[in-house]
């Protein structure tokens, strides 16, 4: 019985964790039709590792300006500049981590069956 309670608690925690990213960030992104996957790919192309990407996103969110953004200036002709949000440090770091995990490229990579 104790184990079942523990599993349920963990599952709820996970949902709450990912739900946080959805409610804090992606809900707005969705409404504004911001291409999350495209943004993540641009970060990946420039910074390569999760750690570097996390730092770059953190820098931008702390001070959202065109020159700090990974996106080209033309992007902001179509999409509005993000407003600076007051989010505590821990939640901000957590949200960035969740964003990276959600769009992690490793999840999409599959080994090709046929051989060349």
């Amino acid at each position: 019985m104790g184990k079942i309670v523990l599993v349920w608690a963990l599952l709820l925690g996970v949902f709450a964790y990912s739900d946080g990213l959805e409610s804090r960030c992606l809900a707005c992104h969705k409404a504004q039709q911001i291409p999350n996957d495209l943004i993540y790919r641009r970060y990946l192309l420039k910074y390569s590792s999760a750690k570097n990407i996390e730092n770059a996103i953190y820098r931008y969110l702390k001070n959202p300006q065109k020159e700090h953004s990974i996106m080209p200036p033309q992007f902001f002709l179509k999409f509005p500049m993000k407003e600076k949000r007051s989010m505590d440090e821990r939640t901000l770091r957590q949200s960035i981590e969740q964003f990276i995990q959600k769009f992690d490229i490793k999840k999409k990579l599959v080994l090709e069956k046929r051989s060349h």
Binding site: L44, S48, I105, K108, E112, K113
Partner: protein
């Protein structure tokens, strides 16, 4: 091959990076393993085992590792690995060995054939010389013996002719011829004749041979100095002993100056025969013992005397030493035991 695969993978990553499919198909190359790593060298994906880090290398595997930029799919490093297939290397080694053996065999046969071809004229010339000597010695034996016997008879029977100069000259010339005959037949039969090893009274034999050469020495007014210890005995064949003494004495007279000295020292350790003659150049001393080699061509001869002396010494384990100074003389030293 690995570089080409690495480039191919990079191109594929570029295409995958731009793809918005739900699944990105990572290439799977036949017999080649690949992997991509981020800028911190953390494994992203690949067919190369995740457990092996980017910098580690394994024995028996060929690697192509390189940094790429921009980082398509976050890949900053590409690793391409291929296990070394030993079979072609072993085959190649076998082929090389086989080829070298065949080449060695061919070159040996070719070398032998060419060697024979190049040496043929020299060998032919030596054979001709040997044949000539063989024929000459055979034909000379009877007339020389006849001349010497008759001179002895004339000397014995007609006492008034005993001191005739002409007769002495004939005697010397005949003895020279006789000695040359003995030397040449010794060389020709060297390997075929049976040696009778016996204890020879070398002192008596030396005295006898000095007496034999006295007429030749007298003709050049050469003074013979003897220091012969009595009772020196040597175990050897008598003909070999004769060839040894005769050749050394003959050379010492032949290459001596008029009014010179021939010194013969014999004791239980050595036989030393020295002259006050023309001497031999230092550079010629090295080759003087070879057959048909003559340091000085002013006198007649075949250049076989010292070759015979050397052969006799070698046969019996005697040590042969030669010292010579131009215009001072030559000393030949034979040590009975090395």
């Amino acid at each position: 091959m690995l570089k080409y695969t690495s480039k191919k993978l990079e191109n594929r990553l570029r295409k995958l990076h731009k793809s918005h499919e739900d699944t990105l198909l990572y290439p799977n190359y036949k017999q080649i393993q690949t992997a991509i790593y981020d800028i911190d060298k953390h494994y992203i994906f690949g067919t190369y085992p995740k457990a092996h880090t980017f910098d580690a290398t394994q024995k028996g595997i060929l690697y192509e590792k390189r940094k790429v930029e921009p980082y398509y799919l976050g890949a900053a490093y590409i690793l391409v690995a291929k296990p070394i297939n030993e079979a072609p290397i072993v085959n190649l080694k076998k082929n090389i060995l086989f080829f070298m053996l065949i080449a060695g065999l061919v070159f040996s046969v070719l070398g032998y054939y060419l060697g024979r071809l190049f040496v043929a004229p020299m060998r032919e010339s030596l054979n001709r010389m040997n044949q000539f000597i063989q024929d000459t010695t055979h034909e000379l034996n009877t007339p020389i013996s006849t001349i010497l016997t008759n001179i002895e008879m004339i000397e014995a029977l007609n006492t008034e002719h005993q001191n005739a100069k002409e007769l002495k000259r004939i005697e010397i010339a005949s003895k020279t011829l006789s000695r040359i005959y003995d030397d040449l037949s010794y060389l020709n039969l060297n390997h075929h004749y049976h040696r009778k090893i016996e204890t020879i009274d070398f002192s008596a034999l030396t005295e006898e041979r000095i007496a034999y050469f006295s007429s030749m020495a007298k003709a050049k007014d050469i003074k013979i100095v003897r220091h012969i210890v009595e009772g020196v005995q040597v175990e050897m064949d008598k003909n070999d002993a004769l060839r040894l003494i005769d050749n050394l004495c003959s050379n010492a007279i032949k290459y001596n100056k008029h009014h010179g000295t021939l010194e013969v020292i014999l004791n239980h350790e050595t036989l030393v025969i020295s002259d006050t003659g023309i001497g031999i150049k230092k550079e010629d001393l090295k080759h003087i013992l070879q057959r048909f080699n003559r340091a000085n061509k002013s006198e007649g001869g075949f250049g076989i005397g010292l070759h015979i002396v050397s052969a006799v010494c070698e046969n019996y384990g005697f040590e042969l030493e030669m010292y010579s100074e131009i215009n001072e003389g030559t000393e030949v030293r034979v040590r009975w035991e090395k």
